[in-house]
């Protein structure tokens, strides 16, 4: 049985929830470790860490459309600038029931595209001049559908939640290790001397390693959202071949978007970072070959090919 986009959407949504729950659990583990090691001081730092993480991430989430536009140098275009592209986007709007997003172009010869904005009303989808030049109509439609799928799935929100949690964990760990360096905190206020050395060592290891675990979880969430966007794109166009061919074009292309700012790496359709420089576990995107294989398998599904 060939996989259907409905099944794949469901599976990826479930995995996202599982991973987000994993992050929540990680926060609990860190707090527990902090309590074991530092007693009440450990808990005292929690609201500060969470507060800073929320403040820093949600500001950029709220103005994500403007922020990302500035960081990538994207420029808003009008329908008269590229009527064909607007036709494609209007088609996907009809297929998805989404509102027409703002459309932007990034002057860059490397083929790539991204979507951002906190909700449907503030959504922006952007394309590099490279991708507009190199792809045919079906391929570009697949790319448009993938970006619109990010909007439909509220991926700016999902990644903001993941970033907040990962950020809070990183700050918490940072604070606690600092307190440790200055020798402060530990059991000064509560004199329960039931500390066994193993529990202390384990707590210490947890506090130090938690940020890495959080980054791994955050990357895993990003990868699931990419796979979900591919499945949702197929739900919109019912044409897995278009997106598959588009990804093959990206795969055969060696140029990489010039800006290598890791801060916005996760929003592009293809990761702008060299695959060699980032280990698979830390990658924000599933490997292109894996995404292509999944789409190819969907092409065998009898549901495909009759958009009528």
């Amino acid at each position: 049985m060939a996989p259907s986009f409905r099944g794949l959407q469901l599976a990826n949504r479930r995995k996202t929830i599982g991973l987000l729950a994993g992050m929540g659990f990680l926060v609990l583990v860190v707090v527990y470790a902090a309590m074991t090691y530092f007693g009440k001081t450990g808990v005292g730092v929690l609201p500060i860490a969470v507060g800073i993480a929320v403040a820093s991430v949600w500001g950029s989430y709220y103005s994500s459309d403007k922020l990302v536009m500035t960081m990538t140098g994207a420029r808003i275009i009008e329908e008269s600038d590229n009527p064909k592209l607007f036709n494609l986007i209007q088609e996907v709007c009809l297929a998805s029931g989404l509102k027409m997003p703002k459309v932007a172009v990034v002057e860059d010869s490397a083929p790539n595209a991204f979507a951002t904005g906190r909700n449907e009303e503030h959504a922006v989808i952007a394309f590099t001049t490279g991708i507009l030049g190199v792809m045919n109509r079906d391929e570009l439609q697949g790319v448009v559908a993938h970006e619109m799928a990010h909007i439909a799935n509220r991926d700016t929100l999902v990644s903001a939640i993941a970033a907040t949690t990962a950020g809070a964990i990183a700050l918490l760990s940072d604070f606690l290790t600092r307190i440790m360096w200055f020798g402060g905190g530990r059991n000064r206020d509560d004199n329960n001397n039931n500390q066994n050395p193993i529990a202390l060592v384990v707590s210490l290891v947890v506090i130090i390693l938690a940020p890495i675990a959080a980054i791994l979880l955050r990357s895993a969430i990003s990868r699931r959202r990419e796979a979900l966007a591919d499945a949702t794109a197929v739900a919109f166009t019912r044409n897995p071949a278009g997106l598959r061919q588009a990804l093959e074009v990206l795969q055969s292309d060696n140029t990489v978007v010039h800006q290598r700012s890791t801060a916005v790496a996760h929003i592009w359709i293809e990761s702008p970072l060299d695959s060699s420089s980032v280990s698979k576990l830390f990658s924000t995107h599933p490997p292109l070959s894996e995404r292509i294989a999944t789409l190819r398998a969907m092409e065998a599904n009898p549901e495909m090919g009759n958009a009528g």
């Binding site: 009527p83 064909k84 036709n87 494609l88 209007q90 088609e91 996907v92 009809l94 297929a95 998805s96 029931g97 109509r137 919109f236 019912r238 065998a300 009759n306 958009a307 009528g308």
Partner: protein, 184 residues
């Protein structure tokens, strides 16, 4: 004392659930209406393109009378159609007639290369896609509504919300009825 509170809590939960389900059914029903309106918008767009297309083709292939008349007749019929089944049938006829016309165009290289026709081509292509996506979106919405109307427990509230299963938008397309292609 304890049991009274439990009963009150259960009643409150039930009422909340009923309100949510009722609203969901109404929402799904409204989405189907909106999706159908969107099909009509796109059909109208296509209908508006046809006179221009017919004029352009006439300039190069005036003697392809039957094909041209088919398109004009199908378009005229489609403007009076109402109701899902009628609109779908008229839509199918226009799609069919247009396909015939575009097949004829293939025999006229001058026409195909003319600036008028080239300008129309992208417009026709995207319009056909838009019509087709609007149909798909409508059918997706009908699918969700019908699922809610027919499955437990939302089916219990369908009568109360005066919402019933809706009709799918089926375009009878002879191209689909051809011999099934065998793939290995």
């Amino acid at each position: 004392m304890g049991t009274t509170w439990i009963i009150i809590a259960l009643v409150v939960l039930f009422v909340l659930f009923a309100i949510m389900t009722y609203n969901k059914l109404i929402r799904l029903n409204v989405s189907v209406d909106e999706a159908f309106a969107q099909i009509e918008v796109q059909l109208k767009r296509r209908s508006d393109l046809i006179p221009n297309l017919v004029e352009t083709v006439k300039g190069y292939a005036a003697h392809e009378k039957t094909t041209l008349e088919n398109v004009v007749a199908a378009r005229a019929k489609a403007t009076t159609a109402s109701g899902v089944a009628d609109v779908a049938a008229a839509d199918g006829a226009v799609t069919q007639a247009l396909r015939g016309l575009l097949a004829v165009v293939e025999n006229y290289p001058d026409l195909k290369a003319s600036s008028n026709f080239l300008a129309l081509q992208e417009e026709l292509g995207t319009t056909e896609n838009k019509v087709s996506f609007a149909r798909q979106f409508y059918n997706d919405n009908v699918r969700s509504l019908n699922q809610a109307v027919k499955t437990f427990p939302s089916n219990l509230f369908a009568g109360l919300a005066k919402v019933g299963a809706r009709e799918f938008y089926v375009v009878d397309d002879p191209a689909d009825r051809q011999a099934p292609t065998v793939k290995f």
